[in-house]
Symmetry: C2
Amino acid sequence: MEKTNPRTLPGFMELLPEEQILFNQIQDKIRNSYERFGFLPLDTPIIELSEVLLAKAGGETEKQIYRFLKGDTDLSLRFDLTVPLAKYVTEHYSNLSFPFRRYQIGKVYRGERQQKGRFREFYQCDIDIIGDGDLSIINDAELPSVIYSTFKDLGFGDFTICINNRKILSGLFLSLGLENISSDILRIIDKIEKIGKEEVIKELVNLNIDNSKIDAIIDFITMDGNTDDKLDKLRKLKIENEIFNEGLNELSEVVKYVRAFGVPDENFKIDLTIARGLDYYTGTVYETFLNDYKSLGSVCSGGRYDNLAEYYTDKKLPGVGISIGLTRLFYQLNEINLIKSNKKSIADVMIINMTDDFEYAANVATKLRTENINTQIYMEDKKIKAKFKYVDKLEVQYAVVIGEDEISSNNVTLKDMKTGEQVKVTIEELISKIK
Amino acid sequence: MEKTNPRTLPGFMELLPEEQILFNQIQDKIRNSYERFGFLPLDTPIIELSEVLLAKAGGETEKQIYRFLKGDTDLSLRFDLTVPLAKYVTEHYSNLSFPFRRYQIGKVYRGERQQKGRFREFYQCDIDIIGDGDLSIINDAELPSVIYSTFKDLGFGDFTICINNRKILSGLFLSLGLENISSDILRIIDKIEKIGKEEVIKELVNLNIDNSKIDAIIDFITMDGNTDDKLDKLRKLKIENEIFNEGLNELSEVVKYVRAFGVPDENFKIDLTIARGLDYYTGTVYETFLNDYKSLGSVCSGGRYDNLAEYYTDKKLPGVGISIGLTRLFYQLNEINLIKSNKKSIADVMIINMTDDFEYAANVATKLRTENINTQIYMEDKKIKAKFKYVDKLEVQYAVVIGEDEISSNNVTLKDMKTGEQVKVTIEELISKIK
């Protein structure tokens, strides 16, 4: 028979079992953390009508879409979890209670240019809080505490949640009369960490901005001091612009409650340079960095938007949300050895049977499983050496050896594969020892 | 702005939060059960190269595939989890330990004709055990114990695992000289429950089979008695055919060990009529029925196959596996009210703040969350009635009310929403009461 070469598409992550165990551990921690904050689970289809999914899209995103016809129907694979959320909330509006708090962990698809560390299929882990008409600013303060709690659980080391409010930037540009080129300015100042202050000034000069205004911008984004210092300095700027002051008040509230929610000052800061590329953020924005690995970029980002679903409904549905791009994060942390597979097996016990009859072994396995102990029996007809090699390769912690002796005396030999220690015990002792 | 009508494709399940909670509970139980048996987790891409995914496919399945071009690449969405497993095992062969035991819970896609209760996107929950060269028959006996354990956990009522061995049927047909029309005969006898014995005889007559042979077939498939009776009767048939006897020996072994694995006799039986439609089953086959809802069809099926990956490799990789079609099952059980949403909220506690300052409330929330108590704060500026209506709608069990009094005395009022009982407690008392 002619053989097909079995291969996985580039840009699609497929893990070995020990990596998958680690991936699932991380995903479970994220889910548990999200649930601790009372977010409801959601699972929307991966395929949607292109008309629905692309109502809002355009530009770069649209080019990356996996879009195709099935029969006469124009379909697309979801490229994020936000558009499906907008669809969901509008479609099921009358059955939901607002504020509607949901998490969704699922795969999304983008046909990106092939590149190391870039994925075409990847998990996003999102939470969003959607209000009906309005949504209290305190919600914006709760999300950093979700980030804090989640990344504490994940244990990827020290991290900083950077918080800003886009109204502050918009207000500044308005007060300088630069609102028409604000997105160009944002694009430039966003790069200050990478290209440095001098380059930023050069690029701003290229936009034909007055020197005095450039000074104002640079003073603004390089403002130093701790969180309270920065809030103070912002107040002292006395910028007489309503939007600026709205943003400043919001940011002050957010800082106050981020602390009340127990996020230590060393884990968050005001960063006036972050604006988030996406157009739909209108207020608070977040980015999160691992202190020792800033080059990874933001590992958890999000923000406040005024209108989740304006392409579907006239209802005003403001929201605030964050997202972790899990697949990319997993890949990056693996590359720098910050995470390491710690389990090669789901089984905690491997039963090794030395006789031809597996009845006793099957009995023991069932007893262990009834006690919620993950148990496997090696059932193949192989030499004893091969059996133990299997236990070793899977790094199962306990081997339970069963021979004629054990069967006749109604017990088992328990071997700790780490220490090599070996004891004969009854089934009851076995269970309590392993537990 | 012109609005797009937000809608979900027919054949794609999208649940309300309380249904999603229930769905996830069921999925978690299946996962836990599979892990108790030491199966390793796996997650393969939903998109594969068509050449790889369709190497084996054909006929009806191929027509249902979601297949499309992205650039020049011919892609397909997976239609089951078995072909991706075959790909995976061949591709990663040298990194796996055999027997390779994996579970995979994931979405698959089939563009089926639109029909109530039929889904185009649905979850399969699969386990498979893959041997390298050979695989002990005891594995075939372990899977019914996985089914037993899983459906006990799920609590959908009494169920029966029907077991057969295709070699017994093949051997019978060989001994009758009917091997060339065996698939036609299988198709007919598979319908005996639905159409009755007389119809089956009629259809067999239409195949021009001798009356004596028809009698033999009918006697065979209507064989009565308990499991041991049937094994006895099969032996007493004294069919001198190697394949028949191989199948009978395998079935006897499977029965012996199914019992050793603790599956009670009332939960399994030999059913000589089941053959499973798919071509690749070669030995043991399973179907599982809910005793009170047989009309739902099999809720968990599978079997033994000689060669998992013959389209990819010359290596002989025999396996045995089972699958639960979770999306369809969930839909069906929901329709007949056998399952019912028991939770509308992930939060166990809702904090209701009666003051303008949320600092104390945020403090309390963080303390509860640190103790792993799923907690939400109602943060919107609404009347007290609206706040409690929200708690009621989400059916959160505990409301924690915070007013000026509570803040000044550093405690909270805990209200059990079910009993209406209300007590003033300290934060420590609150935590221990809820736990």
